[in-house]
C-alpha cells in the first residue's frame, strides 16, 4: 500500500522493455532512472525518496492496460510514467481516468492522445474548456501535427521545395501521424507529394524503393520514422547517388544515426527536434556529459525525453500541497515554464507542452545549423 513507508513516493514505470519496440522503452527508462537518481541524491521531494516501480508491458497495449491496473490498484503508485508508444499509452488512459491517477509519457506523439479529436480538430465546450480532454493524461513531447507541419513549412519556405517524396514507417503510429501532417501542410503551402512509399520497422533493405524514386523528379525526401531505419535509408540513398535533401523528425535524434548512415552520407539532412547541441545551454551540456559518464554512450531523444519526463513529474510533486494523485494532476496541469534538456515549456489546456521547435541541419554528420520554426 501507499502508506507502507511514509518516506517513499512510488512512481510506476510502465514501459516496453521487451517485444518489438523494446529499444524505445529501454532508452526512455534509462533516462528516467538517471533523473530519479539525481533527484534522490539531491534529497528527494521534501525529504521523501522516489521509488520507481518498474514493469515491462512487452510492447503490447493489453499488457500495458493490465500493468496500469496493477500499478494503480496493487502498488498504489502516485503516477505512472510511460508507455513510450501512443497505442499503449492510449490503452492505459482509461485506467488512469477510472483510478484518478495521472499518467505521463515522454514520447507518445499521436495528436489524439490527450484529447479526443473530431476530424483531427480539437472541440471546445460552451464554457471554452477542451471537449474530451483526458484529465489524467499528460505528455512532454511534440504532437505529430506540430512536428509534421513544422517540417513541411520549413521545406516549402526555407528549402523552397515544390515536390516531395515521403518514405514512411507504416508500422508505427508515429510515422503515420507525421506523414499525414507533413502531407497536408506541404500541399497547403503549394507543394506536391509525388510519391508515398512505405516500410516497416525492422526492414534493412530500401534499395527497391530508392531505385524507384531515383527515376522521379522531386526536391526533398521526408522520412517520418526512427533513426534505426532512417540511418539505413539515408546511407543507401546516398550510395545510389540521390543527393537531394532528406528531412526527418525527432526520431532522427540519436548518435547512432551517424554511425548507421556514415558521416559522409549525412549532408543536407534536416530534422525537427526539441533542442540543438549547438545551443550550449549549460543544462544540455551537463546532461550529455553526465549521461555519457553513466551509460557509456551519448544520449538520444528517448533518453533525453525520459530524463525530462521524470524531472517534470518531480517538479509537479514538489509543487503539490498534499502528496496524492489528485493534487499531482492539478500541479502538472498548471506547470509553467518548466525547464528541461528538451526545452522549456508550459502545459497547455490540452495537456500538451508548448515548446518551440528547432530544425537541425547536418553537415558531414555534425549539427551545422539550427533554425527555430513555428508550426
Amino acid at each position: 500500500g501507499a502508506k507502507a513507508n511514509e518516506n517513499e513516493i512510488k512512481i510506476g514505470i510502465n514501459y516496453e522493455l521487451s517485444g518489438a519496440v523494446a529499444t524505445y522503452g529501454q532508452s526512455s527508462v534509462d533516462g528516467i532512472l538517471m533523473a530519479i537518481d539525481e533527484i534522490n541524491a539531491a534529497g528527494g521531494i521534501n525529504g521523501k525518496t522516489i521509488v520507481p516501480v518498474k514493469s515491462d508491458n512487452k510492447s503490447e497495449p493489453a499488457e500495458a492496460t493490465t500493468l496500469a491496473n496493477k500499478l494503480m490498484t496493487q502498488d498504489k503508485v502516485i503516477a505512472i510514467l510511460g508507455p513510450a508508444t501512443s497505442g499503449s499509452f492510449k490503452a492505459e488512459i482509461p485506467v488512469a481516468e477510472k483510478n484518478k491517477v495521472p499518467v505521463i509519457t515522454g514520447s507518445a506523439t499521436a495528436d489524439d492522445v490527450t484529447v479526443d479529436l473530431v476530424d483531427g480538430q480539437v472541440q471546445y465546450n460552451d464554457d471554452g474548456s477542451v471537449k474530451g480532454l483526458k484529465e489524467y493524461a499528460f505528455r512532454i513531447c511534440f504532437s505529430d501535427s506540430y512536428q509534421g507541419s513544422a517540417m513541411a513549412a520549413f521545406a516549402a519556405e526555407n528549402l523552397s521545395a515544390k515536390k516531395a517524396v515521403i518514405i514512411k514507417d507504416t508500422s508505427s503510429d508515429y510515422g503515420k501521424g507525421l506523414a499525414a501532417n507533413f502531407l497536408s501542410t506541404f500541399m497547403e503551402k503549394g507543394g506536391e507529394v509525388v510519391a508515398e512509399e512505405a516500410y516497416v520497422s525492422g526492414n534493412t533493405d530500401f534499395n527497391g524503393i530508392l531505385t524507384k524514386i531515383k527515376g522521379m523528379e522531386f526536391d526533398v525526401i521526408y522520412i517520418p520514422g526512427y533513426y534505426q531505419e532512417a540511418g539505413l535509408i539515408i546511407k543507401q540513398a546516398r550510395a545510389q547517388g540521390i543527393t537531394d535533401p532528406i528531412l526527418g523528425a525527432d526520431g532522427f535524434d540519436s548518435p547512432t544515426l551517424v554511425e548507421l548512415a556514415g558521416a559522409d552520407a549525412l549532408n543536407d539532412v534536416y530534422y525537427t527536434n526539441h533542442y540543438s547541441s549547438l545551443d550550449e545551454d549549460p543544462m544540455v551540456v551537463k546532461f550529455i556529459a553526465d549521461y555519457t559518464a553513466k551509460y557509456g554512450k551519448e544520449p538520444d531523444a528517448f533518453n533525453a525525453l525520459g530524463y525530462d519526463l521524470a524531472k517534470f513529474v518531480c517538479d509537479g510533486l514538489s509543487r503539490c500541497e498534499t502528496l496524492d494523485s489528485e493534487s499531482l494532476k492539478n500541479a502538472l496541469a498548471s506547470t509553467e515554464n518548466f525547464t528541461g534538456v528538451t526545452g522549456s515549456f508550459s502545459v497547455d489546456e490540452k495537456h500538451n507542452p508548448v515548446k518551440s521547435i528547432v530544425v537541425i541541419g547536418l553537415k558531414n554528420g555534425e549539427q551545422d545549423s539550427s533554425v527555430k520554426v513555428s508550426a
Partner: protein, 326 residues
C-alpha cells in the same frame, strides 16, 4: 446412455454455475480487483483461442500458424461495429459479425490451402494471417498503425464467462460427436480415414472454419475488454503464443489447453516482478517444460473423474507415508 448424458450435463452445469458465482462474489466483495480481473480476462481469451486452435491443430492434425489472423478479424469487426453502435446489442451484433466474418475467411482460405500438408500448411496459414494484418494496417476504417481507440467496454466477468464456457462446451460437444470423430480420424491417418468414407477435405475445412469462428469470438472479447486494437497485436508472435498454450497443455486435450492458459498467465504474472529478465525466464521455463513433458502437461488425456481418483490415491499414498513417519 440418455440418462448418463443428462447426468453429465447436470454436473457440468452445476460446476460452471459454481465457478461463475465464486468469482462474481469475490469481485463484489473486492477481493478480485481490476488487475486480477484483467488477468482473468486474458486467461479467458487465451482459453478460447487455445481451445479453438486445438480443434484445428490438436484434434484435426492441421498445423496452423495463422490463428491470430482470425482473432484479428473478430476483434476489428466487433470493434468497428461497437464504436458505430455503442450499445450492448451493438456489441453482441459485433461479436457475431466478427466471428462469422472470421469463419467465412477461414472457410475461403481453408478450401484451397488445406490440401497442403504439415509445414506447408503452417506457412500458408502464417502467410494468410500476415496478409490480413497488412490489410488492417493499410485500411482507413481500422486507423492503420495508429490503432482503433475507444471501443466501448461491454465485456465484464459475466460475458467473459459466458463466452469462454460456451466455447469450450460447444467444442467439447462437437468433438464427442460423429462429426468431431471424423475430424480426429484425419489426424490419425488421413488415407485410412478417406478409405473409411470420411470426406477429409470437408472435415478439415469444417474444423478450420469452426476454429476460426471461435478465434473471432476471442478477438471480439479482446476488443471489448481491452478497448484498443492495432494490427501488430496480431502478428506472427501472437499465433505462436496461442500455439504454445496448445502444445504445452497437450495437443488433443481440451483440459490441457485450459490448464496451460491459466499456468502461463500465472507464470507471466509472477515474472512481472522481474521486468528485465521476464522474457529470458519465460523462455527458459518453456524449454524446460518441453524437455521434461514433450507431450504437454496433459498429453492427449482429459481431466476426468477417473483421473482425479487416481490423483487422489496418489496423494493419499504420499500423505499416508507422511503420517507413518510422524
Amino acid at each position: 446412455m440418455k440418462n448418463m448424458l443428462q447426468k453429465r450435463w447436470l454436473k457440468t452445469l452445476l460446476s460452471l454455475v459454481a465457478a461463475y458465482g465464486v468469482v462474481q462474489l469475490l469481485i463484489a466483495v473486492g477481493v478480485i480487483n481490476d488487475y486480477i480481473q484483467a488477468t482473468i480476462a486474458t486467461i479467458c481469451i487465451n482459453m478460447v483461442l487455445a481451445v479453438s486452435l486445438n480443434l484445428i491443430t490438436g484434434f484435426t492434425g492441421q498445423f496452423s500458424l495463422g490463428h491470430a489472423g482470425f482473432m484479428s478479424i473478430g476483434a476489428y469487426v466487433c470493434g468497428i461495429i461497437t464504436v458505430a453502435n455503442p450499445t450492448l446489442p451493438g456489441f453482441l451484433l459485433g461479436t457475431l459479425a466478427g466471428a462469422v466474418t472470421a469463419a467465412v475467411v477461414g472457410f475461403l482460405v481453408g478450401l484451397p490451402t488445406l490440401r497442403l500438408r504439415g509445414d506447408y500448411l503452417a506457412i500458408a496459414t502464417l502467410g494468410m494471417s500476415e496478409i490480413i494484418r497488412i490489410v488492417f494496417l493499410n485500411m482507413q476504417i481500422t486507423n492503420g498503425a495508429a490503432g482503433l481507440n475507444g471501443i466501448p467496454q461491454f465485456v465484464n466477468w459475466t460475458w467473459m464467462f459466458l463466452f469462454t464456457a460456451g466455447t469450450i462446451l460447444l467444442i467439447v460437444n462437437f468433438l464427442h460427436s460423429s462429426h468431431g470423430r471424423a475430424c480426429i480420424s484425419i489426424r490419425e491417418d488421413e488415407i485410412a480415414a478417406e478409405a473409411m468414407g470420411i470426406n477429409t477435405t470437408k472435415y478439415k475445412v469444417m474444423s478450420f472454419t469452426i476454429g476460426a469462428f471461435f478465434a473471432g469470438v476471442a478477438g471480439a472479447m479482446y476488443a471489448s475488454y481491452f478497448y484498443f486494437l492495432k494490427p501488430d497485436l496480431f502478428n506472427f508472435q501472437k499465433s505462436v503464443d496461442i500455439l504454445v498454450i496448445v502444445v504445452l497443455g497437450g495437443m488433443g486435450s481440451i483440459s490441457g489447453s485450459i490448464i496451460a492458459a491459466v499456468l502461463l498467465a500465472v507464470i507471466s504474472t509472477v515474472l512481472q516482478s522481474f521486468p528485465e529478465l521476464r522474457m529470458v525466464i519465460y523462455s527458459l521455463v518453456l524449454v524446460i517444460i518441453m524437455i521434461f513433458r514433450p507431450q504437454g502437461l496433459m498429453g492427449s488425456r482429459e481431466i476426468s473423474a477417473a483421473l482425479f481418483r487416481k490423483w487422489g490415491e496418489g496423494l493419499k499414498r504420499v500423505f499416508g507415508k507422511e503420517k507413518e513417519r510422524v
